[in-house]
């Protein structure tokens, strides 16, 4: 019996082949932590255009999603904070890039909802603020909430510490962040894993993303750039 339930990609270029012009993609990570570095590099190389990208941030000028920006591959960005990136600002001011800012918790929940088949939910975040414009406000137990809708993607790119050939994933520390919800919300989900293992090598009690959400995997080595190295010195 075959034990590769999933497609094990042999090149990053091949792994991103389901992403086409005008695709909506989700990309895991918070800042530069937990981003699928090599899948992003392959996407730059593919030169697909007019992407809608859903990701908490948009990388920095020379790394992560910033590389897609630089290559003018993104038409629209949905995220919660995009302040680390000069080219982002330039494109927005020049009208080349559309931005939809969403509170971070609402973003996380919208992605979870998308993967979980919940079309919409109510949240207190954003009531009485500019992001409430055009959205339904509804009162439950005397308190106001906004209606927010689920998000899904054509393809989700995530990064994990370990993955097995059934697609089960385990993440490392704060590199988990948006990755599990995005893995569930992509019609096709490709996982870049630091280590690919055989089914049965991961403890079934400790899997963060069950394999049902993952369509393809590829092993890769990451640079793991640090945005704000903050250290203490020995006394």
């Amino acid at each position: 019996m075959e034990t590769n339930m999933k497609h094990i990609h042999t090149s990053f270029q091949e792994a991103v082949k389901d992403i086409n012009d005008h695709s909506t993609i989700m990309v895991g990570g918070f800042g530069l932590v937990g981003i699928p570095e090599n899948l992003i590099l392959a996407l730059v190389e593919s030169n697909v255009k007019h992407l809608t990208v859903i990701s908490n941030n948009c990388g920095v000028d020379d790394w992560g999603l910033g590389l897609l920006l630089e290559n003018k591959q993104i038409d629209k960005m949905i995220g919660s904070y995009v302040g680390e990136n000069k080219e982002f600002e330039r494109q927005v001011l020049a009208g080349e890039l559309e931005v939809e800012l969403t509170p971070q918790g609402t973003l996380a929940e919208r992605i979870r909802a998308g993967g979980a088949g919940i079309p919409a939910f109510y949240t207190p975040a954003g009531v009485g603020t500019p992001i409430a414009e055009g959205k339904e406000v509804r009162t439950f137990d005397g308190r106001d909430y906004l209606l927010e809708t689920g998000l899904t993607a054509d393809v989700s790119l995530v990064r994990a510490l370990k993955g097995d050939k059934h697609g089960n994933l385990i993440y490392n520390k704060t590199a988990r962040n948006f990755n599990p919800m995005m893995a569930a919300a992509g019609a096709v989900t490709i996982a870049e894993v630091e280590e690919l293992v055989e089914p049965g090598e991961l403890d079934a009690d400790q899997i963060h993303t069950p394999g049902i959400y993952v369509q393809g995997l590829i092993e890769g080595q990451q640079e793991k750039r640090i945005e704000r190295r903050t250290v203490r010195t020995h006394a």
Binding site: F30, S80, Q104, L107, A108, T174
Partner: protein, 226 residues
């Protein structure tokens, strides 16, 4: 007889006073910037769990150079360590904790606060908008929200207003404001001045505050944990 202090001293004064909001056993979210500094002053006798909305319940001290782990950062994207008994989680779970009001306290920065508890701290019209990050969720997600900020802006104009002029982060969400000059509570009537910094008079505080201030019967001098 207003007091002149340099910026670092102001920040330290505020952070030390803010520390007194934290009780042992609390789960606390500290915002990016000055609020993060509060962690440096937490009394060793207090057992406190700091939550970072990127998915860490239990922020530890900064790492030594050899401990730096690129997969371990706080919400300000600084490298950190995890405390003993910490737990990692995904962003949906992290904000479930926040939105579900499981945190005891959030200490955040502010650009403007209004006397009804409105907070503005994320955008200035005409300037590039970087995004609200987790702030709009966090202001709704703690049993108590404390804003720490300079009492006035760099032009000397009040930041504590009758009504916010900047677009809001949250409506009626602030419980307490701590500045280098005063501590004020949002109450049903208006802002109540409950503490005042050494060297300041009530009239000076009123003059540098646009919002109407009720003065507490038990007005005290700000005590920082120095």
């Amino acid at each position: 007889m207003a007091v002149e202090m340099d910026k670092a001293a102001v920040r330290e004064l505020i952070a030390r006073r803010a520390e007194k909001e934290i009780e042992s056993g609390y789960y606390v979210n500290l915002g990016i910037g000055m609020p993060t500094m509060v962690a440096n002053y937490i009394d060793n006798d207090k057992e406190v769990v700091l939550q970072s909305e990127n998915g860490l319940l239990g922020i530890g001290r900064s790492p030594y150079e050899e401990e730096v782990d690129p997969d371990l950062i706080n919400a300000g994207k600084e490298t950190v360590t995890a405390s003993i008994g910490a737990a990692y989680c995904d962003s949906a779970e992290s904000f479930a904790m926040i939105r579900g009001e499981h945190l005891d306290l959030a200490i955040l920065g502010g650009m403007e606060v209004a006397e009804n508890g409105d907070l503005a701290n994320w955008m200035i019209p005409g300037k590039m908008i970087k995004g609200m990050g987790g702030a709009m969720d966090i202001v709704h997600g703690s049993k108590k929200v404390v804003i720490i900020m300079d009492h006035v802006n760099k032009h000397g104009d009040p930041k504590i207003l009758k009504a916010c002029r900047l677009p809001l982060t949250g409506k009626g969400v602030v419980d307490r404001i701590i500045t280098e000059r005063a501590v004020m509570d949002v109450t049903e009537e208006s802002l109540k001045l409950i503490e005042i910094a050494e060297g300041w008079t009530v009239d000076e505080i009123k003059a540098s505050t646009e919002a109407d201030l009720i003065v507490s019967d038990e007005l005290m001098t700000i005590q920082s944990n120095t």
